[in-house]
């Protein structure tokens, strides 16, 4: 029963050139990759692109995949990197993006406050509005690192691996993201969660 085989078995067959086994892995992991991609990009269309690019790159790299590793974790690292690339590309090319330089020399994503596209990230509350503003002030790297740490629960080591950074840079990116988030949130005592 092909559908009942675990990832390790499917990966072993796929590494042997069995395209049907790779199809099984795609169908099994598409939803998880999409969720990660959406949370990182905040955009449905971009997330779909990330899903396609992730599986294409995974196929190309399947030969080098170490079978003792977890396929899902490996795939999510590729997806995180693809999503990071999309965020950077959006920063460079999207007409809606303002280009500003931060003190660190990184460009930051700037989304107009009344832009309805990240609606899924906001629900009309003050917290969500400010959260959107905070995300808009983050660089692609900061946003990626923060999302992977705070939302996906990846460790700093996993983030550094996924984004191709050393651990110190990953840690700093998360820290800068949290700082920007808090700056945007302002005086949380006025509206923050009750202690």
């Amino acid at each position: 029963m092909v559908g009942g085989e675990d990832d390790a078995q499917a990966v072993a067959r796929a590494r042997g050139g069995d395209v049907e086994a790779f199809r099984l892995l795609v169908e099994r992991h598409s939803r998880g990759v999409f969720r990660l991609a959406f949370r990182m990009t905040g955009n449905e269309h971009d997330a779909e692109d990330v899903v396609q690019e992730t599986f294409l790159k995974a196929y190309r790299k399947l030969a080098a995949f170490e079978e003792r590793a977890q396929f899902g974790s490996w795939l999510h690292r590729i997806a995180a990197n693809c999503a990071y690339d999309v965020l950077r590309a959006r920063l460079r090319h999207d007409e809606r993006v303002d280009r500003t330089e931060t003190a660190e020399g990184e460009r930051t994503l700037s989304v107009p406050a009344d832009d309805p596209s990240p609606d899924r990230l906001v629900a009309g509350t003050e917290v969500r509005r400010r959260m959107r503003a905070a995300l808009a002030r983050m660089s692609a790297l900061e946003r990626s690192a923060f999302t992977l740490r705070h939302v996906e629960g990846m460790s700093i080591a996993e983030i550094s691996h996924a984004l191709g950074l050393d651990a110190s840079a990953a840690k700093q990116s998360v820290f800068r993201a949290v700082r920007k988030l808090r700056q945007a949130l302002g005086d949380q005592a006025q509206w923050g969660a009750t202690p």
Binding site: A14, R15, G16, G17, V19, F22, R23, V26, E27, R28, H29, S30, R31, F34, R35, F38, R39, G42, E44, A47, Q52, F55, L56, K57, Y59, R60, K61, L62, A63, A64, F65, E66, E67, N81, D85, R120, L121, A123, V127, R128, M131, H150, V151, I156, S160, A162, G164, L165, K171, V174, F175, V178, R179, L181, R182, L185, Q188, G192, A193, P195
Partner: protein
């Protein structure tokens, strides 16, 4: 953190502590036990982080996986068939024993050439000089072929912009270093300076690959790729392999030509 001038936690320490990534966590926790000011600041930080909404992705239907596959499949059609590195390397153990024998014969050959008064090892005694040279050519040719495959793997390692795990390539490099050293010394002694030069450069790269961390950052991967491509190392290895194979064929066809390599 004690004393008259209390050093409070920095914002970075608080953030990293809250994320479970701080260095010196016991000291930070000890300070928080004693310092109400820092404790309040950390509590505020925790509330801020807890308030951050987790974006909920739009739902995808039950057939989403099949839809993704339908869009992906045409793109995969243009991709080369997957052949696992392990499978590509599976012939390595089979050739390793003959290569080891060849290496010992090369040594024996050198001992016989350069230290004529030394007693030749038993293996060398039963092999003619022409046969030894042929073995050397075959062994060097195979070594160059394997090195070429490794260089190709390194050039293509990793997904663009992502760290690359080269642990498999490292094991491969480790295997090749010893043989490379032997062949480099051999060809240097036989006056093949051009081949020796390429093997010398190849050896430095193999040693570096074998001993570096198995995870390559995109910048490190690009550096290795640049090093292989900019100096034409892959191309030169291919050229030499072709030359060695030609000599190998000649050595099989004409006994006189068999001695040309030395």
């Amino acid at each position: 953190m004690g004393g008259d001038a209390v050093r409070h936690l920095t914002e970075e320490e608080m953030v990293l502590h809250q994320l479970g990534e701080a260095e010196g966590a016991p000291a930070i926790e000890a300070h928080l036990e004693e310092c109400a000011q820092c404790r309040a600041a950390v509590d505020a930080l925790r509330r801020d982080l807890e308030a951050v909404p987790v974006p909920e992705p739009p739902e995808r239907g039950a057939d989403y996986g099949a839809e993704v596959w339908a869009r992906l499949q045409p793109r995969l059609a243009g991709e080369p068939k997957v052949v696992a590195i392990d499978a590509r390397r599976s012939w390595a153990p089979r050739v390793w024993a003959p290569l080891a024998l060849a290496a010992s014969l090369v040594l024996a050959f050198l001992l016989g050439r350069h230290w004529p008064h030394a007693a030749p090892p038993p293996a060398a005694a039963s092999v003619s000089p022409a046969a030894r040279e042929r073995i050397l050519l075959v062994a060097v040719g195979d070594h160059l072929e394997r090195s070429e495959m490794l260089l190709v793997e390194l050039v293509n390692a990793g997904v663009d912009g992502q760290s690359a795990d080269i642990s498999a390539e490292q094991h491969w490099a480790e295997e090749l270093v010893g043989a490379n050293r032997l062949y480099r010394q051999t060809v240097a002694r036989t006056g093949e300076t051009g081949v020796a030069s390429v093997l010398d450069e190849l050896e430095r790269l193999l040693v570096e690959v074998a001993h570096r961390p198995s995870s390559l950052s995109p910048a490190e991967r690009d550096e290795i790729r640049h090093r292989i491509e900019s100096r034409g190392l892959l191309f030169r290895v291919r050229v030499i392999e072709t030359q060695v194979r030609e000599k190998e064929k000649e050595s099989l066809g004409t006994p006189a030509a068999a001695r040309a390599v030395s």
